[in-house]
């Protein structure tokens, strides 16, 4: 690689050709403030429209200041990152941005966790001159089941647009209008509900301000907990325990499973259960379906559709319903763990504790915003009563815990309740990309071959590559497995299937970068992909620590089938644990 030498703030450095000034300065430990720029390095996600102009620096010989995030270095370049000209420019530009930004920080969902707020502090902004006559851009607030768009707070960083279009290829968000009126949203300024949005929440995960936030359900949860006539139970998704600690100042990757259980119990939940239990259940159903299709295929049945696709991720389900409705019979019909849990809780468990369905409130803690939307889909309601009443994100849970004057750091470790709190390592790894298919493989292998797996860690299925491929030897039968995270990567695999070019027997798809650990409801990563890696590590550590690591060995799962469901794919299981998909491709309406 060709090298170039340059000088930044009187310090010499040699970097690879093509490096940006920002990255070169970083190597020297020089911190250039950035606002619109975002880089999730390990995932190859970079947003550098050069739009905010906060990161401008002075390049000797240049007529104007240069945006360091997107200006490449050249040999002999001399850069000054903090000259008075630069500092004045940054402040003035920041004053411009703030002059068109609401000052309701007191009630803003992002307050305290807002990159714009931090930048205002960093740049020493104490007033916005001319504020008394400065016009502000105004838009109507757009509410949806999962997220809320308040474009008055949009600073046109375009991160959401990049995630939605380039990473997810969903195309729900793009810039509209010109000049002062410009903002980012669905085409024709439609509501997000009428767009092809999948509610993956990645726009929310990257938004530096309060323009994009989750639909908050904490008030509903508080009301339910306060209601003496209700029995309130909670399920927690695997990825939550690997990230919740960050909200309490713990290092990324800290596992706080026991502390989280303790907190939930103190918040007043009657039963603290684990979505991981439902993940094990998912494996039983989905794994059986996989084996069923696979066996038929191996026996020469031409009717059977392969590859089978996982269906745990609600944003992914929306994505194929919107974009590939003609392939809606390919994904597994198994419901997601959240919904399997809700369904079992309001039948099997409700019967056990003799509580009427309508008096049982199921709350889910999810790393995800699409789960909010999934919970209120009509298929998952019985006489209008949803299987899962409220889904709140990891961030919302952290707020609740803090409000109750609890601290994850000081709480004791406690155990989940039984029977829906017992899970295996296979359920835990659902939280990371590749985890579902690894869990399925552990079970499918043993059920198919009748032999014990020697090495339970299928490391070839793990990692952060956008699309991964692996072949697992099922005792002489090679099974080709594909894994994609990010809907853009999923689209590629789907296009291959459509074109008849897919060589896979089974594919796992997760919408978010890194899987659920990088979900739209997780603590904000503030463009540090190291955080995602640390969470992923925590997930696999949790798995390794579990005494049981295969779903079909979960004693409470075995019991559930014995007492209630019969066997996987039974009629009852079909009724309670499976679903069907809809063609949503024509739902684009122009109002």
């Amino acid at each position: 690689m060709e090298k170039v030498k340059l000088t930044i703030d009187n310090k010499q450095i040699e970097v690879e050709k093509g490096t940006t000034i920002y990255k070169a300065a970083k190597q020297l430990g020089i911190d250039i403030p950035v606002l619109c720029y975002m880089n999730l390095e390990d995932l190859g996600i970079e947003n550098k429209p050069g739009g905010c102009r906060i990161c401008v620096v002075e390049v000797e010989g240049g007529r104007n200041l240069a945006p360091s995030c997107s200006t490449k270095v050249w040999d002999g370049m001399v850069v000054n990152t903090h000259s008075m000209r630069v500092i004045n420019a940054r402040r003035t530009v920041m004053e411009f941005i703030l002059s068109d930004h609401p000052k309701d920080c007191l009630t803003c969902a992002k307050s305290g966790n807002c990159e714009l707020q931090d930048m205002a502090v960093k740049l020493g902004i104490r007033e916005v001159p001319g504020e008394e006559y400065a016009e502000m851009s105004e838009y109507k607030i757009d509410f949806s089941p999962s997220l809320i768009r308040d474009l008055d707070k949009c600073i046109m960083c375009r991160r959401c647009e990049m995630m939605c279009n380039e990473f997810q290829t969903v195309g729900a968000l793009s810039a509209f209008n010109r000049g002062f009126e410009a903002a980012v949203g669905p085409a024709f300024e439609m509501d997000i509900e009428h767009s092809p949005c999948t509610y993956c929440g990645q726009c929310v995960a990257v938004c530096p301000t309060g323009a994009l936030t989750e639909k908050d359900h904490t008030r509903d949860v508080i009301n339910a907990l306060a209601d003496p006539t209700k029995t309130v139970i909670v399920q927690t998704a695997p990825a939550v325990r690997a990230a919740l600690g960050e909200e309490f100042g713990l290092e990324a990757g800290s596992r706080v499973t026991g502390e989280m259980v303790a907190a939930l119990r103190r918040l007043g939940f009657d039963y603290v259960f684990d979505t991981d239990f439902a993940a094990d259940l998912t494996i039983m159903e989905e794994g059986t379906e996989l084996l069923d299709r696979l066996t038929k295929h191996l026996n020469g049945d031409k009717e059977v559709k392969l590859p089978i696709l996982t269906s745990c991720c609600p944003a992914w389900v929306s994505f194929f319903e919107h974009n590939f409705p003609e392939m809606k019979d390919i994904p597994s019909s198994a419901r997601s763990p959240q919904q399997m849990f809700g369904s079992i809780a309001k039948t099997y468990f409700a019967d056990k504790i003799e509580v009427k369905r309508e008096d049982l409130v199921v709350v889910s803690i999810m790393p995800c915003l699409a789960k909010k939307y999934e919970a209120q889909r009509d298929e998952f309601k019985v006489d209008g009563n949803p299987d899962v009443d409220f889904s709140i994100s990891t961030r919302e849970l952290a707020h609740l815990i803090k409000e109750a004057n609890l601290d994850i750091k000081t709480l004791p470790k406690e155990e989940f309740d039984t029977p829906l709190g017992e899970s295996t390592g296979a359920g835990v790894i659902f939280g990371a990309t590749g985890g579902v298919i690894e869990a399925a493989t552990r079970t499918a292998y043993e059920l198919h071959t009748g032999k014990k797996i020697e090495n339970i860690d299928f490391k070839q299925l793990r990692g952060l590559e956008g699309i991964r491929k692996a072949t697992v030897d099922f005792d002489g039968t090679p099974i080709n497995i594909g894994i994609a995270h990010g809907l853009g990567n999923a689209r590629k695999l789907l296009e291959d299937i459509k074109a008849g070019k897919s060589e896979f027997h089974a594919i796992e798809i997760m919408s978010c970068p890194g899987g659920c650990i990088g979900g739209g409801g997780q603590p904000l990563h503030h463009s540090d992909s190291g955080i995602l890696k640390a969470r992923m590590k925590a997930i696999y550590e949790e798995d390794a620590d579990k005494p049981i690591r295969k779903s079909h060995e979960n004693p409470y799962i075995i019991k559930l089938y014995e007492e209630f469901l019969g066997k996987p794919m039974s009629e009852k299981a079909h009724h309670l644990l499976h679903t069907c998909y809809f063609d949503r491709s024509r739902k684009v309406e122009i109002s």
Binding site: G51, V56, N64, L65, V93, S99, A134, M156, G179, F180
Partner: protein, 597 residues
């Protein structure tokens, strides 16, 4: 043009067509038919003559008689007198405003005397819808010469030697641009003609495309040959329907003649042109934004590098030039770089087309050698200021150019001098202002435009320009402080310094140049709450001079808001809290009893 004895050239530019030049053509043809002269006299609708102030124009060949302000009903007289009897129709001739003499031949008019027409060479001479007429004036000769006698490198060398610089605003050397594009290898390259003329009041490109579309097609093909590109695209705003129509006709004719398409002039060279339509966003004149718009993406610029010559349309090397730049190319090839370099100044060769507008007598389109002074343009060609008023400023370079004053009048116009003076060449707009123009309001007017036309991508341009506009508005209302002026200048400088593309990098120019050149006027608004030009309504007060008022009640009756009270034959009073400063009372008062303070 051999068969006919005489030709009647009628201007078919958009301006003259708006004054019914279509009907003039019809009437002339009808008259000729009535007189049985249709076979001897041909009526041709040409492109713009430039002298729009006096349009519609009809020119008679071969005697070069130049008729102005012709109406359809003049057709009979023109045919009867000029064509049949051989007598000029005096009342339709141009009269020199000073000498009061009629001038029949345009080359003796002040408006045309100092002009040299290269880019506009065929406008007003040929029927733009007839390729034969273009060929008749050496059209496609340059393309033939390039393909048959020159290598691509030779062509680039000629353009480089000619010193031709981009006429779209940037002034980047065209030959160098071609060379960069030619050196970037790719399976497909593009030549793009930027016809997204967006400056308000500018119509240089439109006139060239309407009057001489083949010149642009020929130049694009030459560029394609030089850079090894086989596809040409013309990005033109949909608001130019006549230019689009004529371009389409020209493309069809050129294809029919084998001047576009495969095996041009029997060689292996292949080149074809397609049209792309813009929705009229000003920012799409910026080449990266233009390319994004052509790709079907949002019309907003991206950071350069990469330049289009490396990665342009669909990621392929693309050479983008403006219409006027292209229009110069065939002549340079035909007459040589040496000829071209003799025209103009040391660093700006050739001519420049300007659209003269504002408070000037001869509004229109002119082409002058680089180095002509502003004084020559405004006072000789432009005929001076309207209604004998005093010259105050001239704004060059479109909405983001600067306002130059009396002291700049003897500056020879070229790319570098205009920048040194605090303005720029831009694409060639030139708006003249007189003593009645308030320079703060003028700045506000231009900022209003840039606020509307910013794409919104970068914060300084999206928000900063809006804030500039608002502060100017405060000044025109007498609500600003002297500290605000300091802040105004700082905002201007930061917006220039930090904006992503040329739009924001230049939009504060009108303010900066007026702060420099008309500081006192800003101060008057702030400190004295007065608008010296009497334009800022909020700073005006209508008052009745008691001595002059006879109490006729005419003013009270005409006032639309009932702001004036008073008994008959008593002195009247204007309530300033109600008055909307419409001026109706002043107009009605016969006794000069109402003044604006």
């Amino acid at each position: 043009m051999t068969k006919y004895k005489m030709h009647l050239l009628v201007c078919g530019g958009t301006g003259c067509r708006a004054s019914a030049s279509d009907s003039i053509v019809e009437s002339l043809k009808q008259e000729l038919e009535n007189k049985g002269l249709s076979d001897e006299v041909q009526v041709i609708m040409t492109g713009c003559f430039g002298f729009c102030e006096k349009g519609p124009i009809v020119k008679v060949l071969p005697d070069n008689t130049f008729y102005i302000e012709v109406k359809p009903e003049d057709a009979a007289e023109l045919i009867d007198e000029h064509i049949i009897k051989g007598r000029q129709v005096k009342r339709l001739l141009y009269k020199d405003p000073e000498k009061k003499e009629s001038i029949a031949d345009s080359k003796h008019m002040d408006f045309y005397k100092k002009q040299i027409r290269i880019a506009l060479r065929n406008c007003g001479f040929i029927d733009p819808e007839n390729v034969d007429e273009y060929i008749g004036r050496d059209g496609y000769m340059a393309l033939g010469k390039c393909i048959n006698e020159m290598t691509p490198q030779d062509v680039i060398q000629v353009i480089k030697d000619s010193g031709l610089r981009g006429r779209g605003g940037g002034g980047f050397p065209a030959g160098l641009k071609w060379e960069i594009a030619s050196k970037n290898d790719a399976d497909q390259k593009y030549v793009v003609c930027n016809a997204d003329e967006g400056d308000p009041g500018a119509f240089m490109d439109r006139s060239i495309l309407e009057g001489d579309p083949h010149a642009v097609l020929e130049a694009m093909a030459i560029c394609g040959y030089a850079t090894n590109a086989t596809k040409g695209l013309i990005y033109i705003r949909a608001e130019y329907p006549l230019a689009i129509k004529r371009l389409k006709i020209a493309i069809d004719q050129a294809r029919e003649y084998g001047l576009l398409g495969k095996n041009i002039f029997g060689s292996d060279f292949e080149f074809d042109v397609e049209m792309r339509y813009g929705a009229g966003a000003f920012v799409c004149g910026e080449e990266t934004a233009l390319i994004h718009s052509m790709e079907g993406l949002r019309g907003e610029p991206t950071i350069k590098p990469p330049y289009p010559a490396e990665s342009g349309y669909l990621g392929k090397p693309t050479n983008v030039n403006n219409v006027e730049t292209f229009a110069n190319v065939p002549v340079i090839i035909n007459k040589g770089a040496n000829w071209f370099t003799k025209i103009g100044t040391e660093k700006s060769k050739g001519t420049k087309v300007f659209a003269l507008a504002g408070k000037i007598n001869n509004v229109g389109l002119i082409e002058v050698p680089m180095g002509t002074t502003l004084r020559e343009v405004i006072f000789e060609i432009g005929g001076g200021i309207k209604d004998g008023k005093k010259f105050k400023a001239v704004q060059t370079g479109g909405p983001s150019g600067g306002c130059l004053t009396e002291k700049h009048l003897d500056t020879p116009i070229d790319f570098d001098n205009l920048i040194a003076a605090g303005s720029m060449m831009g694409s060639g707009g030139m708006i003249v202002m007189d003593e009645d123009d308030c320079m703060v309001s003028v700045s506000k007017f231009y900022l209003d435009f840039t606020v509307e036309e910013s794409c919104g991508k970068c914060s300084p341009c999206r928000i900063g320009n809006k804030r500039l506009y608002e502060l100017l508005d405060q000044i025109t209302k007498g609500k600003a402080t002297m500290d605000d002026l300091q802040r105004l200048r700082n905002m201007c400088e930061v917006i220039k310094d930090t904006s992503l593309c040329g739009l924001g990098q230049t939009s504060p120019n009108p303010i900066l140049s007026t702060l420099d050149n008309f500081w006192d006027e800003y101060v008057a608004h702030i400190k004295d709450h007065k608008c010296p030009a009497g334009q800022c309504k909020d700073l005006m007060k209508y008052v009745i001079i008691e001595e002059n008022c006879v109490g006729c009640t005419a003013c009270a009756r005409v006032c639309p808001v009932g702001a004036i009270s008073g008994e008959k034959k008593q002195v009247h009073y204007i309530d300033p809290s109600i008055c909307i400063k419409c001026g109706a009372c002043i107009e009605r008062c016969k006794f000069d009893a109402i003044i604006v303070k």
